[in-house]
Symmetry: C2
DNA sequence: CTGAAAGCGCTTACAG
DNA sequence: CTGAAAGCGCTTACAG
């Protein structure tokens, strides 16, 4: 069966008995069209099931769509989902639509997906950089598309960034454990090669050095891939396990709990990132607000779209130590 | 400062010394252009930082973009994030881009955002219906845009759907508790007005009736809004608390744990939906695969884009009972 | 407040 | 394999 033809503005104008331009005005500057004419046009549009074609409008207007691209490396971490939710929320408040792409965490994927988003002429590009270098975006930036890095800074690219105070947060985590009397405090991280983990590790080291425990390298358990469970088990299943652990992110915290349960070793724990059941489990964390991070990044995008020529800005969002008991030496609450 | 002008295909053709059409072919059917000519064009494109304008291409080609819209009610539930991740994954494998919109769970919002997505001429619309009625999409469906409902069926609209076996899953949950010897088994749900909760409640009732416990209305604790913690506390903080609970979704499971901890009442528990720390906590659940749900929905969209005229299909994905200890009468493992 | 012409950047027929 | 003309659906100047 043949599908009915999609109506165009011309069809609407013809049915309403006005010029094409008048029909167009009903959608772009309705207040400039006489009320009676407007009603006539809208009635015709309803009858024909007309919906203005945003593509054509944008093309004619010179390229600036009302979409904003978000490029994420890995879709599996709940932290990034929350960031995306915050972004979506803020954008929709400004009448913008979110277009998402994920690079599956490969260098080649990041550039390919960025290219696809930019070909759709997104008004701005938000990204969680995961490739080693973002200089491939420099041409686009010069053409006026704002680029905003989220959670990690872009490399070799002049771009705005919204980050966390990773170093201060991790320092706080270690200090909380030191204050509770611990000395053998381990730091556990997967994806240790990325910026956030660099910073957090540095914060942990600062706290340890300040406490006169500078030579803690044996207590650092780092992996460049996603093997949280392996790292956690390796750290805890030793002759002399640490009495306390700083977990580098939410997934590592859960991995520590899992390993602790299996091994019946119960180290004190402060984890970076809050998570769903941390309160139920009595786990102390370095908390921050991923929704807020997304909101701030989107707000920055909205501002850059309006005023493209400003100097790049770096926003660092604070973290907060939430004590729930697991920082003490009495072991976990579960 | 003036921004440099964006290069068009014309500029590239001129610099490469070929016709506009030849330059176009390099991007649409590269195998039909002589290798030497192709290299010449690509070199010119690189020099000019040219990126083909997808909008213009789509407009000329007759409307079908390579984007797919996803309309979500509430962005806050991790379940939907996982569904979205599955969708994104499957779409990108087919060279499609995901455009997301959230309705903030209002009827008016759903229609407004659907309209925005359709104005961008998405090739298909995936949605988690939250309004009471989706008949407003019928015109668009007749124009050939596939609509696929995810997690809940669309109402008053002929659309494909990818759902869970909610009823069977909830029945299994109640049966697991019955098998463990429980009789006073409560059912707790927030958002009790939506389709999934209807079905799950029905499954619970079936199991109870079969066990000769048909009159369990006093054990049903339902709320139409999001007040999980309130429902959980009300259900457990009574003179005669239930000995076991079926939680209607992941958030209710966590709310039960929280309430149980505060009240030191420790009912057995089987929750619908798995969640991050359920294994650590030893919580038995009705598990299913939100990523898979997203993947299937996206695959259906891809198929419908290719062959639009097929009859709507309803896919029901199975659930799986995962026993971790909390179904027994000995109380929670934490 | 309304209208006829031109054009946004690309691709589709139609020729060669 | 390459080219000159027309047009996708809309809006922007330019007139009235």
């Amino acid at each position: 069966m043949a599908l009915p033809q999609r109506a165009t503005l011309d069809d609407v104008a013809r049915l309403a008995g006005v010029s094409r331009k008048t029909a167009s005005r009903v959608y772009s500057e309705p207040e400039k069209v006489a009320a009676a004419t407007r009603e006539q046009v809208l009635a015709a549009a309803r009858r024909l099931r007309f919906r203005p074609n945003t593509l054509a409008r944008t093309l004619r207007r010179g390229g600036a769509t009302s979409t904003v691209g978000l490029l994420i490396g890995e879709m599996s971490n709940p932290f990034y989902h929350a960031v995306a939710a915050g972004i979506e929320h803020e954008l929709s408040a400004s009448g913008l639509t979110l277009v998402m792409g994920s690079s599956d965490d490969t260098e080649e994927g990041e550039e390919r997906v960025a290219d696809a988003l930019l070909s759709q002429r997104v008004a701005a590009l938000l990204m969680i950089p995961s490739a080693a270098d973002q200089s491939y975006l420099d041409g686009e930036r010069q053409l006026g598309t704002p680029v905003i890095a989220v959670d990690r800074p872009a490399r070799n690219l002049l771009a705005d960034a919204v980050l966390l105070q990773n170093r201060a947060g991790a320092r706080q985590a270690a200090e909380a454990l030191l204050n509770a009397g611990h000395r053998r405090i381990a730091y556990l991280a997967s994806r240790a090669d990325i910026h956030t983990q660099h910073e957090r590790l540095a914060g942990y080291r600062e706290a340890m050095a300040t406490a006169g425990l500078g030579d803690a390298a044996a207590l650092e358990h780092l992996s460049d891939d996603d093997a949280e469970d392996t790292v956690a088990r390796a750290a805890l299943d030793t002759a002399e396990p640490p009495s306390a652990v700083v977990a580098g992110n939410n997934r590592m915290s859960v991995a520590v709990l899992r390993a602790a349960r299996e091994l019946e070793t119960r180290p004190a724990l402060v984890g970076f990132d809050d998570f769903d059941t941390a309160d139920v489990l009595g786990i102390s964390v370095i908390s921050h607000d991923p929704l807020e991070m997304g909101r701030r990044a989107a707000a920055l995008a909205v501002e850059r779209i309006a005023r493209p020529t400003t100097v790049p800005e770096v926003i660092e969002l604070p973290t907060r130590l939430v004590l729930r008991g697991s920082e003490s030496s009495t072991g976990l609450a579960f």
